[in-house]
């Protein structure tokens, strides 16, 4: 049985609003994808791309707005209902059962009256689909035997098998090698040639330009514009994606950066991610006394691994980290700490702090081994309480008391506690990831002020952020990370949003008209 397209589907989303507690993820998004096109959804992290696709596939219900298929308004209560109407999705994290075969995974969830599972008919159909779209996959292979790229093909086959006419792919190339990505693009083109629709979610400019027919750019939950790929350039896209209407003020520094007085030096660092794939390749960087060096880049390009290597939470597979010109042992948290590294992780509540623990217990997370907090292995509760009372007053933390669990505090107060603890450890170097993500304006102001104070007092700050506005407001120097390497090193006053945006999207500046 050969799959064929019996009808062409155009999907239209109008005025989609989706709110979550404290955030408006989609704020009146308009979007339309026609049959026979690859339509890219482009935007920074947090722009609302994933929320929009989850609304389209029935995982979320929109608070406002309508979805229509060929002018008929539809409501989906679940991804299954969406799939029945021909909308399928390939998630970034695959939903496959590792110990099952490819065929078993594909027919999983199929309604069947038979108790016995008959895979032979399914295997035939899968093979036919695979041949049709030149997707090389053995239906009898088990998932754990397949590479990530092959698993993705299984997900695509699964959607096709269940009759998807509109296929949404969420950051499909994030897990692929460049060669696998090229092969994927060929498959996608052959699908649209058949009259199907591909919605391609990405933040990488070059691949969007390579594969898409039209591009819709989202920013801060709103549609910025929908453009034909042929009429635009990566430069325009970068500008649309990061926005240009935000005015940013440089903060005033009382102490100038001393980039030659190096406090942190990484030489030739390689490291793997949690799955053992190489995440960092040959990183060289330095941070000077009182210098704020920003690492710009889209999340997932090695920033977390970089911070963890410096903080001693992750082993470098090559290279050295030196603090104040002394090489620190590889992957030893306590050694990094005592060398003067303070690491403020992105996940404040579950890594930087213990959510269920009280304010006072969280403030001693790094100092509990030493006097005056403990003596002869015994914690000195009154000292701990006094310290907490001081911090609450000095940093103006809004909390009912020192024994309140930190998970009950607002994001801004949580970050105050974390920063207070780190500043109190008198570090030489601070590695701080997305310090203002999720905070409100007042809290952002406060955190930035504290960071600048730290730098003024001599601390070298490595600021890892996706927020360009923040980077331009704070940094003395900007490094851009892309796929585990540093692709740019620019003094802040020479940088433009456009140049940084292009580098973040993987476009080297010299390729453009420089």
């Amino acid at each position: 049985m050969v799959d064929y397209i019996d009808s062409k589907l155009t999907v239209t989303m109008k005025g989609i609003v989706k709110r979550f507690p404290g955030v408006v993820a989609n704020d009146g998004v308009d979007f339309e994808a026609r049959a026979g096109e690859v339509h890219a959804l482009l935007g920074e992290n947090g722009a609302g791309k994933s929320t929009l696709s989850n609304v389209l596939t029935g995982l979320y219900r929109p608070d406002e707005g309508t979805i229509s298929l060929n002018d008929e308004v539809v409501h989906f209560d679940s991804p299954r209902e969406a799939l029945e109407r021909g909308i399928g999705m390939v998630h970034q994290h695959f939903r496959l059962v590792n110990s099952f075969t490819v065929a078993e995974n594909i027919i999983l969830g199929e309604q069947s009256k038979n108790i016995m599972m008959d895979t032979s008919a399914a295997i035939e159909r899968i093979s036919a689909l695979a041949t049709q779209y030149s997707i090389a996959v053995d239906p009898n292979a088990r998932i754990w035997q397949l590479s990530v790229g092959e698993q993705q093909r299984v997900e695509i086959l699964k959607a096709l098998y269940h009759g998807a006419k509109i296929l949404i792919l969420d950051e499909p190339t994030a897990v692929l090698t460049p060669q696998e990505a090229d092969a994927l693009f060929v498959v996608l083109r052959s699908m649209v040639a058949e009259g199907r629709t591909v919605i391609f979610i990405s933040h990488k400019l070059d691949e969007v330009m390579a594969v898409a027919d039209r591009i819709t750019v989202l920013r801060a939950g709103k549609t910025v514009s929908t453009i034909e790929c042929a009429t635009t350039t990566t430069r325009d896209l970068a500008r649309l994606m990061v926005g240009r209407d935000v005015v940013f003020d440089r903060v005033v520094r009382t102490n100038q950066a001393e980039p030659d007085n190096i406090v942190l030096q990484l030489s030739n660092i390689d490291a793997n991610d949690d799955r053992g794939r190489q995440a960092l390749t040959s990183i060289f960087l330095t941070v000077g006394k009182s210098e704020i060096v920003a690492i710009a880049g889209v999340a997932g390009n090695g920033q977390r691994e970089l911070a963890e290597v410096i903080g001693g939470m992750r082993n470098a597979t090559r290279g050295t980290v030196a603090v104040n010109n002394e090489v620190i042992p590889n992957g030893r948290v306590r050694k990094s700490m005592s060398a003067g590294v303070s690491h403020v992780p992105e996940d404040r509540l579950h890594t930087g702090l213990v959510a269920d623990h009280s304010v006072e217990d969280n403030l001693i997370l790094k100092s509990y081994r030493r006097a005056p907090i403990s003596k002869f292995s015994i914690l000195r509760r009154n000292v701990i309480r006094d310290q907490a009372t001081d911090v609450i007053e000095k940093y103006d933390v809004k909390t009912p008391g020192t024994t309140t669990p930190v998970r009950l505090l607002s994001g801004g107060n949580v970050q105050k506690i974390l920063l207070a603890r780190e500043f109190n450890s008198s570090p030489s170097v601070m590695v701080i990831s997305s310090p203002t993500r999720g905070l409100d304006v007042g809290a952002i102001e406060n955190v930035r002020k504290r960071l600048v104070e730290a730098a003024d007092s001599g601390v070298g700050v490595l600021l890892i952020s996706e927020d360009l506005e923040e980077i331009f407001a704070l940094a003395d120097r900007i490094l851009v990370m892309y796929e585990g390497t540093i692709v740019g090193n620019i003094a802040a006053h020479d940088a433009t949003r456009e140049s940084i945006g292009l580098l973040m999207g993987g476009i080297a500046i010299h390729q453009e008209n420089n």
Binding site: Y60, V333, T351, S377
Partner: protein, 367 residues
């Protein structure tokens, strides 16, 4: 399709829940037990009154209750210590067996020493043997991430077979060479018997006092020391522990060993206080280790509460022995214990969630 009631996560846990929930659980168990009793044609009130009378109401009964409570206190402490770090050690049973082997060894080997020295040796050997047995589980988990529930459970069976082997199937150091027919262990000399302490009309086994001291030490360790702080960080957030440079693997081994040592101490007390011999069958029938899990759950992992819960469950068992007969089924006490655990675990949900009447909320907002 939707029920009018729904569970909502509590933001804070009010203090009254600490005693309110166990009490309500107990009440629930008694009501469920009453249903079982009525179904078998018994008057629940009179049965409960008799349990109260024979378990707690007289000084004699209470002294016997403390004897039953002592091993529960140790295994309850052992389970609490591991559970507090999220290690599900259900091997208290086997660790206690090893404790009896260690203590019996010390009792036989040091027979000609003065009593305090024998007791100290029995305590140390019991703890070492039990701790060693549990450390196997800890090392496997720390090094190879094996599931501690399975390994600790399996080691219970191995420990039981080891006990049988020492008494029935070998001419071991523990077996009495003079025993004919039915093999038994070597009896300890009277100098190796642990003290009976008298407080007025009530007799308290020495082991029970040791359990109280152990509970105090565990409480201090977990609430006032660096060690306890690290354990609580690991239990609440493994990633924060890694971030703070806490050596989780090492702690897994230490906490498992500590848990096993406490169970082993229970084994030492069992030999020194009561049996005065390595009694392979007797200790296996008792099932102290498994009851320890019930104790820890009811005590909500608080070492001090564990002592009180042990006394309560000890009273139930004691009443069970005393009342066994044609009109009092021997399985009843076990049934009641099971019901209590069941309601306690159900009640645990209420400490983390509260029941709310469904008011109409925007859908999808509860992610």
């Amino acid at each position: 399709m939707q029920s009018p009631l729904r569970l909502e996560r509590r933001l804070t846990q009010p203090k009254w829940l600490n005693w309110g929930v166990p009490l309500l659980s107990l009440l629930g168990a008694l009501i469920l037990g009453a249903v079982v009793l009525m179904a078998t044609g018994k008057n629940p009130i009179s049965v409960y009154m008799r349990i109260l009378e024979r378990g707690f109401a007289s000084t004699d009964a209470f002294s016997r209750t403390l004897i039953s409570a002592t091993p529960y206190a140790f295994t309850g402490l052992a389970a609490s210590v591991a559970f507090r770090m999220g290690l599900i050690n259900i091997g208290g049973e086997g660790q206690l067996y090893l404790g009896t082997i260690g203590a019996a060894f010390a009792g036989i080997a040091f027979a000609d020493q003065p009593t305090p020295i024998i007791i100290a040796a029995m305590i140390i050997c019991g703890m070492l043997f039990g701790g060693f047995w549990a450390s196997i589980v800890g090392v496997l988990k720390a090094k190879f991430s094996t599931n501690e529930i399975i390994t600790s459970l399996m080691l219970n069976y191995i420990a039981a077979i080891l006990l049988d082997y020492l008494i029935f199937n070998s001419k071991s150091y523990w077996r009495d060479p003079k025993s004919f027919g039915f093999p038994t262990g070597k009896r300890l000399v009277e100098g190796a018997y642990w003290y009976d302490m008298s407080f007025g009309p009530i007799t308290v086994p020495f082991g029970f006092l040791v359990a109280i001291i152990a509970a105090g030490i565990v409480w201090f360790l977990y609430n006032r020391t660096r060690f306890g702080y690290e354990v609580s960080v690991i239990a609440s957030s493994p990633s924060a522990a890694r971030y703070a440079g806490i050596r989780t693997r090492w702690k897994i081994i230490t906490v498992m060993s500590l848990s096993g040592a406490l169970a082993g101490l229970g084994g030492a007390s069992d030999v020194g206080d009561f049996r005065h011999v390595l009694d392979s069958k007797g200790v296996q029938i008792a099932g102290y280790g498994y009851t320890g899990i019930v104790v820890a759950a009811l005590a909500r992992l608080n070492p001090i509460s564990a002592i009180f819960v042990a006394v309560f469950l000890g009273g139930l068992s004691n009443a069970g022995y005393a009342l066994q007969g044609p009109d009092f089924p021997s399985g009843l006490v076990g049934t009641l214990q099971g019901l209590i655990l069941f309601t306690a675990v159900a009640g645990e949900i209420l400490t983390r969630y509260r029941i709310k009447r469904q008011t109409h909320v925007a859908e999808g907002a509860s992610s």
